[in-house]
């Protein structure tokens, strides 16, 4: 028996279809026949009727029909289902035989052909002796037939042919060989299908009729027949495509329950189960087809519950588990198939569960086979082969080859029975169980992956790995286990991780994989493992052996032959020179050594040594010695200072007794301190711990290098740190020099910052600054260093990063004597100030020119270098000190201008050639006194001074909110057109801040004079009045009238007295301007 023994027969799994045989077709040599055949076979989609066609010869031999039994009195069935039955009705016994015959209605040799056709029909009938198979004739005609009833010859000849062939009119068809072949064929096959259905219907009736003979007794025999009958009926009904599935299902169900009613005993148990399995398969399949998956599942559950306990012969228990496994597997397959056709499965109900269960039974089978089939070496396969049958196959499904057809409770021949069982056991021994299990598991994995069950998937992969381990495929086992291990690690299921690790360790041992062996050992010894102390101790001893390049003790419960191979593998490894260095990246594991590296502070000044502590702790049962501890930093030049070696002579290591120092005592935290002096180039840079390495073993021999990236942490520590940080637990006081591991915090990077400057920078100034002034700030730098401060450089000016407009309106210079212009920068960098002896002071005045008001931040940065000694090393430290100051800028004064007449009356406009006054008011807005050095008016061409304009405010000092005024007498020369606006010119004020604090320079401020309206007047009148008059004395008034035009003007003058005056003289003089002067008194 092959491993496929438990597979369902293909004829069971396929869909039963009506079988129609076609004869009289020569598909090899006749093109027309070929085309007809192709039209039948090709393109059989779901919408076409379910028929399987076969071309047979006219005299084909069909299976013989048994002689009908008339009485069932003495009938004893030999088994339930004959192995050939399904195939017979699927492929051998046709429901309909169709004879194709080329004959036109108007064939000249009609008579001869008719009789030939009748003979052929007869031959077919004879070969179908005793069967109820229908026969039909198809006439292949070249001509398109006329509509029915029109062709009288045709109908006459048709009935004649029917008579000759003994056919009913319904069984005679005409197939015109024209363009519409496929259409004709489809109509033909539908007609065939009807005939086939009639045949199957008759068959059903025939089978049902047997009931009459059997309904009297409840004998086993009757039951068997009943099962049989229902199964047959169901099968026949199943051949119908749509309508009768429900009905078919009902018959299958009846058959199913009847199977279980059969009296079961050891000899027929297998047969019953096989049959039950078959019928169950059919029912489930139909349920899935009907889209009632719940019914399918329920049926399957029922089936399993009923059959679970039907183990049968204890010596062949593996057969039961094999069968169970197959049940689950085929149900899984059905389920999966239904899903592919559109059924939706859910997480808790998907084919994966069935495959998983199938795998479980397969594992059980393996176990039972191991128990039952481990014969003595002397036992050989019995001869003659009890599994051999005369026909080479079984007659009935599920029977024993050595006692076929036997239906009584006890085996007929106990010796034969023994031999048979032995043969089965021997066969079972050779089955590759692990392969079966793995195949099922991988099916299940694929399903669970689909239905979002990552944990289930992992679990199954573990099982697969373990199965590979049992199958001695250690490479695959290790690959699978390694793949899922990290899931369990991150989920912190230590119990599961430990179990997986143990298997993985065995695999790596048996393969002589040193690195894997070391890795798994380390994890199994560590805190993530739940192994007992003695197991850990054993593993540790082995690990030490491996590190010493010796052969480790075998792992327990390993296959003995494999152990032997492994031992030789390991011994080969010893002699192998290379490949003895291993690096393990700790962050992927939870090894037995933990490490935390930290800088003592988040930053170090360049003039102090950088301090680094490394804490190491082991969780293994025995003390362990390491040979090297090294820290790598982001700047690798420092690595040499952070190294602890077995033969170390390094000075930087604080503790001296190295040998003692490099032993890790379980449960105790060790601290290693490292110190180094940072390089001056690293000022302002970050130093990071990139990794910490711990070497176990010898550099000369084999060693393993544990590497903590970032200086700490393995796969479990981030969670532990979190828990520890949340914990309120009181830390128990530990004795001197011992630390609580959880309290060690991580500081994996540090900044190197410059040395603290020992100088003072002072700023002296008188805020606020005045606009456009050269504002003086005095920087005083005093050294408080012990040694000479070299190369002092001052950077001063606007602090970068402020408003861009400030950069444009601020200038700084060291030279206060002249006013800055645009060429001066806003920030003056690196003003070299030389060296400064201890205690010495430098005073440096700086001048800032602010062209806009507002506040600005000024920066004074003093940098210098000084030499210092750190840890006996001379270094040149650069120090710097920053001072910033916020400076307000205000306007020094405001200038107001106005035009007034010579009588100080306000003028809206001025007149050509008539003098007027330009008046300035300078109002001080500065909190500090301002000295006006000079002022000057620079007139535009449209104005001319009447006298020499001279500053009237020169030398005046204005206190806060005091005002100084001056005026200039001006007139405007004539202009072309009557009225226009003219520019006046500029006003310059030279001033300086009056300060006792520093020498200030004169600032020249320019004020643009306003424009003014200028008007031409034709007649100018002005009166000459004495400055005062006396009562009752005459007050002489002289009016001057001036004609300013180029033409003679007639004037008429009238004087209106006021009440206080009396007139004397001409009251109404008349005259002409220009020629005479009119005087009025």
């Amino acid at each position: 028996m092959s491993p496929a023994q438990w597979d369902l027969p293909p004829e069971l799994c396929c869909r039963p279809m009506a079988f129609v045989a076609l004869t009289g077709l020569d598909v090899v040599y006749n093109a027309i026949h070929r085309a007809i055949w192709d039209a039948f076979c090709a393109n059989r989609r779901a919408d076409r009727v379910p028929i399987s066609f076969k071309v047979l010869l006219g005299d084909h031999e069909y299976p013989k029909c048994r002689t009908k039994r008339t009485s069932y009195e003495w009938y004893i069935p030999k088994g339930i289902l004959k192995t050939g039955w399904m195939n017979k009705h699927l492929n051998l016994v046709p429901a309909l035989v169709v004879l194709f015959y080329e004959l036109d209605w108007d064939d000249p040799q009609w008579k001869e052909k008719q009789s030939e056709c009748a003979t052929k029909v007869e031959i077919v009938r004879t070969s179908l002796q005793g069967r109820n198979t229908k026969v039909a004739v198809v006439l292949i005609q070249k001509k398109t037939p006329l509509p029915p009833g029109e062709d009288l010859v045709a109908s006459e000849r048709a009935s004649a042919l029917c008579g000759a062939c003994d056919l009913s009119g319904k069984s005679l068809f005409v197939l015109p060989h024209t363009d519409h072949l496929v259409g004709y064929i489809i109509r033909l096959e539908n007609a065939f299908y009807e005939h086939a259905q009639t045949y199957y219907y008759n068959e059903i009736r025939r089978v049902k009729s047997h009931k009459e003979f059997l309904n009297k007794t409840t004998h086993q025999v009757t039951r068997i027949s009943a099962v049989n009958r229902n199964f047959y009926i169901a099968e026949f009904i199943y051949k119908d495509p749509h309508t009768f599935h429900v009905l078919s299902c009902r018959y299958y169900r009846t058959a199913y329950s009847l199977v279980h009613e059969l009296r079961a005993h050891e000899t027929n148990m297998l047969e019953i189960k096989t049959m039950a399995g078959f019928i169950n398969y059919k029912i489930c399949r139909l349920c899935f087809q009907h889209n009632t998956p719940l019914d399918a599942i329920a049926q399957f559950r029922k089936h399993i519950d009923l059959c679970k306990k039907k183990i049968g012969s204890a010596e062949l228990a593996f057969e039961h588990t094999a069968w169970m496994s197959k049940q689950f597997q085929s149900f899984g397959d059905l389920f999966d198939e239904a899903i592919k056709l559109g059924l939706t499965a859910i997480q808790t109900q998907n084919p994966g569960f069935y495959y998983q269960q199938a795998a479980y039974y397969a594992q059980e089978r393996k176990q039972q086979a191991g128990q039952l089939c481990s014969h003595e070496p002397g036992v050989v396969y019995p001869a003659p082969d009890p599994l051999e049958t005369p026909s080479g196959a079984l007659d009935f499904y599920g029977q024993r080859p050595w006692r076929q057809g036997h239906q009584s409770i006890d085996p007929p021949d106990s010796e034969k029975e023994k031999q048979g069982i032995l043969a089965l056991q021997v066969k079972e021994r050779d089955v590759l169980h692990s392969e079966l299990v793995i195949a099922l598991l991988s099916n299940a994995v694929a399903q669970f992956k689909k239905y979002k069950c990552p944990r289930m998937k992992s679990h199954l992969m573990v099982q697969m790995g373990e199965e590979y381990y049992h199958a001695k495929d250690y490479t695959k086992a290790l690959k699978l286990l390694d793949y899922v291990m990290c899931d369990y690690r991150t989920e912190r299921w230590w119990s599961l991780l430990t179990s997986i690790l143990c298997t993985a360790l065995k695999c790596s041992y048996l393969m002589g994989q040193v690195k894997d062996y070391i890795t798994y050992s380390m994890e199994l010894m560590g805190r993530a493992s739940i192994l007992h102390e003695e197991q850990k101790s054993r593993i540790e001893k082995n690990l030490i052996k491996v590190l010493m390049n010796e052969v480790p003790q075998p792992e327990p419960d390993c296959d003995l032959t494999s152990v032997k191979t492994a031992q030789s593998l390991w011994s080969d490894r010893i002699s192998l020179a290379g490949n003895n260095e291993f690096t393990i990246e700790v962050q992927d594991y939870v090894p037995f050594v933990q490490c935390k590296a930290k800088f003592l502070y988040p930053s170090f000044h360049i003039d102090e040594p950088v301090q680094l502590h490394v804490y190491v702790r082991a969780d293994c049962p025995h003390p362990v010695r390491f040979s090297k501890l090294c820290v790598s930093l982001s700047n690798q030049e420092y690595n040499q200072y952070c190294l602890l070696e077995d033969t170390s002579k390094e000075k930087d290591i604080l503790e001296t007794s190295t040998q003692e120092n490099m032993c890790l005592v379980p449960g105790k935290t060790r601290k290693y301190c490292f110190k180094f002096v940072a390089k001056t180039e690293d000022v302002g840079k970050k130093i990071e711990i990139t990794s910490v390495g711990l070497m176990l073993g010898r550099e000369m021999g084999r060693y393993v290098y544990l590497n903590w990236r970032g200086g700490w942490g393995d796969a479990a520590s981030s969670h532990e740190t979190l828990q520890a940080s949340r914990s309120f637990k009181r830390r128990t006081r530990l004795p001197e020099q011992q630390l609580d591991w959880d309290t060690v915090t991580i500081q994996s990077s540090t900044m190197i910052i410059s040395r603290v400057p020992k100088i003072s920078v002072q700023l002296t100034h008188e805020p606020p600054a005045l606009t456009n002034e050269m504002y003086c700030m005095i920087v005083t730098i005093q050294s408080e260093e012990d040694t000479v401060a070299k190369d002092i450089k001052l950077t001063a000016g606007l602090k970068p990063g402020q408003d861009a407009s400030l950069t444009q309106s601020t200038q700084i210079t060291v030279n206060g004597s002249e006013v800055c212009d645009d060429s001066h920068p806003a920030l003056l960098p690196d003003i070299s100030l030389g060296d400064l002896q201890p205690g010495q002071k430098i005073v440096k005045p700086l001048y800032i020119h602010c062209m806009s008001t507002g506040s600005r931040i000024l920066l004074f940065h003093v940098a210098y270098s000084v030499s210092a000694t750190v840890e006996g090393k001379d270094i040149n430290c650069k120090c710097h000190k920053d001072e910033t100051v916020t400076l307000e800028t205000v306007v020094p004064f405001e200038v107001a201008m106005k035009f007034v007449s010579s009588k100080f009356e306000h003028l809206e406009r001025v007149y050509v050639d008539i003098p007027f006054l330009l008046m300035m008011d300078i109002l001080s807005a500065s909190p500090w006194p301002i000295e006006l050095v000079n002022s000057e008016v620079q007139l535009a061409s449209s104005m001319t001074p009447i006298d020499q304009p001279q500053s009237q405010v020169e030398g005046v000092t204005l206190q806060t909110s005091e005002c100084a005024s001056e005026c200039f007498l001006l007139k405007c020369p004539p202009v072309q057109n009557g009225t226009s606006t003219v520019a006046s010119g500029h006003y310059f004020i030279s001033w300086k801040r009056k300060s006792a604090f520093a020498e200030t320079s004169v600032v020249r401020t320019i004020v643009i004079l306003p424009h003014v309206m200028l008007e031409n007047i034709p007649l100018y009148v002005h009166a000459e009045l004495p400055s005062f008059g006396r009562v009752r004395e005459s007050l002489p008034v002289r009016y001057h009238l001036e004609n300013r035009t180029g033409l003679v003007q007639d004037v008429e003058i009238g004087v209106e007295p006021s009440d206080a005056f009396m007139f004397s003289g001409l009251k109404q003089p008349q005259g002409r301007n220009g020629d005479t002067s009119i005087e009025a008194a």
């Binding site: 997480q347 808790t348 569960f353 269960q357 479980y360 979002k452 069950c453 990552p454 944990r455 289930m456 679990h459 573990v462 369990y488 989920e491 912190r492 299921w493 230590w494 119990s495 599961l496 179990s499 969670h719 979190l722 828990q723 949340r726 914990s727 309120f728 637990k729």
Partner: protein, 136 residues
């Protein structure tokens, strides 16, 4: 048999009677988390407050039934019983979970208990023991 587990995603408390077959039991509990997660994530955010804490039968296997319960703070309780055990109905399981939850709340109220650490409370232990005696 009956087994009790309290877990976040890793076990905080595992108690089982009898102790053989523990590994398989652990795997069962671990795989049942798939279903628990799916069930929790299936509930919309808005309904999270009204969510039934008892998740019912997570999934049936041939040998045992796995029941789940999730507190609002996503602590999971799992009870595994023999599938042949018919004396424990849904209601009994539900009330066991409720007791378990109450007792767990007491554990959480202990200021010295650090959430996330394994439960070592004697009171909790005795509650579980009583339930085990009743169930078996």
């Amino acid at each position: 048999f009956i087994r009790f587990v309290v877990l976040i995603n890793y076990p905080l408390y595992i108690r089982s009677v009898p102790t053989q077959g523990e590994l398989k039991f652990h795997y069962t509990v671990h795989t049942s988390l798939d279903v628990v997660e799916e069930k929790i994530s299936g509930v919309g955010k808005a309904l999270a407050d009204q969510r039934e804490l008892y998740l019912g039968l997570l999934y049936p296997t041939e040998d045992y039934k796995v029941y789940g319960y999730v507190t609002n703070s996503k602590v999971k309780f799992v009870i595994v019983v023999d599938s042949s055990n018919t004396s424990l109905r849904d209601n009994e399981i539900r009330s066991m979970f409720r007791k378990l939850h109450n007792s767990f709340t007491d554990v959480m109220c202990n200021p010295f208990y650090n959430p996330g650490d394994p439960i070592q409370s004697k009171a909790f232990d005795s509650i579980v023991s009583t339930m085990m005696v009743q169930a078996c």
